[in-house]
């Protein structure tokens, strides 16, 4: 009843299907009222740019969480890929398309190692990817000798805008989001992720090659992390071995805020996108409102809880 206006087609609404969208809307309305600087084109584009890295990491994380796993290594893998890109493109003079491809391969390789540890090694995903976090972070430091490596201009254009307005990171984020939606909804691999996350034994006994599908899942997460790392480095025009520290928590939070469950079988690309936007809008808004640095963390915590609470309350009312 309450959501009647937004009901688009019979039996379902964008709102009820996408978790915290209502939280995001409330947040946007509140910030618009509180700060005159919020609802401007430039600021919204800024929010988009600021959401990009988390969102891309979160899209990759979505695959993993849907299949009932978790990937704590995405932040570190992003940093490693960025360092590899900068290192090959500068020290080794590789042309940038090749270097980018190579960085992507590094991300995918990290994901495959995660997947192999989990499937063949039977390690819990938490442990396997925590180990990978350390390894990737450490290798990034070793390769870069602990110093940031400047990116050649050719690559750092990726962090710029097309024309004077359209930021490339936003475009990359949207493309990765669409890819995620298509993979999850329309491909065999995507549907297999839901099946594995919902009931792994049933998936196995229905002829799904669980091992292979999990390898694909973690490889995707690794690949997405690499893309996020490249976007991040090109925004900063330099690859930092300590970049994206702790971003895995943000990525997981975005996925869960978006309605996925850590016990698997549930999750959507759009939900993840909304989750990532909530986090970015929140940080942006707190800066605009000049909330004191110490209170910011408190406010972020409270607002995240409220945003998700809104969703559960609405759902309960709907029943």
């Amino acid at each position: 009843m309450t959501t009647g206006v937004l009901r688009l087609r019979k039996g379902g609404s964008v709102l009820s299907e996408n978790g915290s969208l209502i939280g995001l809307i409330v947040l946007v309305v509140a910030l618009t009222l509180l700060s005159g600087d919020f609802l401007t084109v430039t600021n919204l584009l800024n929010v988009g740019v600021q959401a990009a890295v988390t969102a891309i990491l979160a899209f990759g994380q979505t695959y993993v969480i849907i299949s009932a796993g978790i990937d704590l290594s995405v932040g570190a893998v992003a940093a490693l890929s960025a360092v590899v890109l900068a290192w090959t493109a500068t020290s080794n003079g590789m042309p940038w398309p090749l270097a980018t491809g190579f960085a992507l391969l590094v991300g995918i390789a990290c994901g495959l190692v995660n997947g192999a540890l989990i499937t063949y090694g039977k390690l819990p995903p938490f442990i396997a990817t925590l180990a990978m976090q350390g390894v990737a972070r450490g290798l990034g430091l070793v390769i870069s000798q602990g110093s940031p490596i400047a990116l050649p201009d050719s690559v750092s254009h990726l962090g710029d805008t097309i024309g004077s307005y359209l930021p490339v990171p936003v475009i990359v984020m949207l493309v990765m989001g669409v890819i995620t939606a298509v993979v999850l909804n329309r491909t065999y691999a995507g549907r297999a992720m839901y099946a594995i996350g919902g009931n792994e034994e049933a998936a196995r006994l229905s002829g799904i090659k669980v091992t292979r599908q999990k390898l694909i899942t973690y490889a995707l997460a690794g690949g997405f992390a690499a893309v996020a790392g490249i976007v991040l480095a090109s925004r900063l025009a330099s690859a930092q071995p300590q970049a994206a520290l702790g971003y895995e928590l943000d990525a997981i939070a975005a996925v869960v805020i978006g309605g996925a469950s850590l016990s698997g079988g549930k999750g959507k690309a759009l939900g993840t996108f909304v989750g990532a936007l909530i986090l970015a809008v929140l940080r942006n808004g707190l800066n605009l409102l000049s909330v004191s640095a110490f209170w910011q963390q408190v406010v972020i915590g409270v607002v995240i809880a409220l945003a998700v609470l809104l969703d559960t309350l609405r759902r309960r009312q709907a029943r």
Binding site: V182, N185, R186, T187, Y188, G190, R191, A192, Y194, A195, G197, G198, N199, E201, A202, A203, R204, L205, S206, G207, I208, K209, G265, K266
Partner: protein, 498 residues
């Protein structure tokens, strides 16, 4: 006769602490229904899981079409034309019905999943087994019976040469069973070979051709399907059972459970009845009649909109399981995996779950006492296990069901509600459970029993309530209740029956 499609020789399988199979021989011909019979834990499910690629034998050989074959994965089995309906559903609750029907092999176009084709095909598959469900609905919104029909439809969709069915009829009512048998007969005519497992002995003669009896993990006999039931029982349990339904009526006392005008809009309406001390009341009806919903509401597991529930004259608060339990109610739920058991915990833990509150003093649980009580009940119900510390997940289906019942027997509830209590339980153990029901009522307790097994309802109830479409369609005394009169009420258009 035609050549064997499947032949099994000397199959052995051991699990930690148990030898599940100890040299099984078995063979299967095209166009026959080969029944596997055996007590709970005899090894039936283990045997078929080795044919479907879920387990690997430690020893022994499997021949398919006369050639020695190893079946490593479910895919191998599918390639060999073997489809399996497992005892415990292998479905994904979060996915839609359609996706479950085509799990692992969705129709694809240009590499992408073709949802339109998937829903169309799903509708066909559902129509084939005659189940009324929306292919787009999430599977978890279905009751357990319709899930079973989905599982059946899924296996039929493979168009296999060998169809293995592990207790498909355990949760179905008579009409669904008949529909299933019609399908099985069609398949037989097409030359499909069928392995059929059931604990309902009367079904053997109806549908079977041959019976292989397993005992303690070994095949002990192969007999024709028209072997008399007594003989089958003797082969299976090693002794004969003289009375299938040993109900001993006890004197009836005051009403212990009163339900008045219980209503949840759209699910059940105006349900009123009472159960007296010393009485066994059967609750019959077709699948989806709303019986489970009613008893869950009574027990406080779900909410209801109006009406009231009284235990021993006192009114229960809504939606409060603990209050219901304290007042003396107990519920054995129909879905043992989802609602009855902590699968990852051991037998002792599960048996002690309900009584744990009473075994607690100053916050500490009397674990020794609990262990003793658990051992007693496990012994009483003849649970086949390697020990009280065996994980419940690894018990056979029937033995799991015994644990669910056992934990409530320990609780000594004044009014025990049983939802499909003997689902998947072998004939010998059933009699044990019936005798326990007898001793409960003899002690002045009351029992409300939902069962889709009509002979059981008729054999054990002092009174039969029949539900249809969420309403009580009528009440029959033990004398009035017959297969026909119950079915008439269950199907009929709310006609009056005195």
């Amino acid at each position: 006769m035609t050549e064997e499609i499947l032949r099994v020789r000397g199959l052995r399988k051991r699990f930690p602490g148990v030898v599940a199979l100890d040299g099984v021989d078995f063979d299967l011909r095209p166009g026959e229904v080969h029944v596997l019979l055996g007590e709970n834990g005899a090894g039936k499910s283990t045997l078929i899981k080795m044919l479907s690629g879920a387990y690997h034998p430690d020893e022994g050989t499997i021949f398919v079409d006369g050639r020695e074959t190893t079946i490593r994965t479910a895919e191998d089995a599918q390639r060999l034309g073997i489809a399996t309906i497992y005892q415990e559903f292998n479905l994904v609750p979060q996915l839609t019905v359609a996706e479950n029907l085509m799990l692992g092999r969705p129709p694809r176009r240009f590499g992408f999943v073709d949802k339109k084709a998937m829903y169309a095909r799903a509708q066909e598959m559902l129509d084939r087994v005659g189940v009324d469900a929306d292919p787009r609905a999430p599977l978890e919104s279905l009751g357990i019976a319709r899930m079973q029909m989905v599982e059946i439809a899924k296996a039929l969709g493979l168009d296999a040469r060998v169809l293995i069915m592990d207790e498909p009829t355990a949760v179905l009512t008579t009409s669904e069973v008949e529909r299933l048998f019609t399908i099985v007969r069609q398949l037989k005519e097409q030359g499909v070979a069928i392995v059929f497992i059931t604990h309902h002995l009367e079904e053997i003669a109806q549908i079977g051709d041959r019976v292989t009896v397993l005992r303690d993990g070994a095949s002990v006999a192969e007999v024709p399907a028209d072997t008399p039931e007594d003989e089958l029982v003797r082969l299976m349990v090693g002794r004969s059972i003289d009375q299938q339904y040993p109900r001993e009526r006890s004197t009836q006392g005051a009403p212990l459970l009163e339900v008045r005008g219980l209503t949840r809009t759209g699910v059940f309406e105006d349900v009123s009845f009472e159960v007296r001390a010393g009485e066994v009341v059967g609750l019959a009806g077709l699948v989806g009649a709303g019986r489970t919903e009613v008893v869950r509401a009574i027990f406080g597991a779900d909410h209801y909109d109006s009406g009231e529930v009284l235990v021993d004259g006192r009114r229960l608060p809504r939606g409060n399981v603990t209050a219901a339990m304290e007042a003396g109610l107990g519920l054995v739920p129909e879905d043992r995996k989802g609602q009855g058991l902590v699968l990852g915990a051991d037998i002792r833990e599960n048996l002690g779950l309900v009584t744990m509150r009473h075994a607690t003093h100053a916050g500490f649980v009397d674990r020794a006492g609990q262990t003793k009580a658990a051992a007693r009940v496990a012994e009483q119900l003849g649970v086949r296990m390697s020990g009280l510390t065996q994980e419940v997940r690894t018990l056979s289906g029937g033995n799991q069901q015994k644990i669910v019942i056992g934990k409530w027997l320990l609780a000594e509830a004044k009014v025990l509600i049983l939802d499909e209590p003997t689902r998947g339980i072998d004939v010998g153990a059933k009699v044990e459970i019936y005798q326990l029901i007898n001793s409960l009522t003899a002690a002045g307790h009351a029992v409300l029993m939902i069962s889709s097994d009509l002979p059981e309802v008729l054999g054990m109830s002092d009174r039969v309530l029949v539900m249809a479409r969420g309403r009580l369609a009528g009440e029959l005394s033990a004398a009035e209740a017959t297969q026909d009169s119950v079915m008439a009420l269950a199907v009929g258009e709310l006609e009056e029956t005195a």
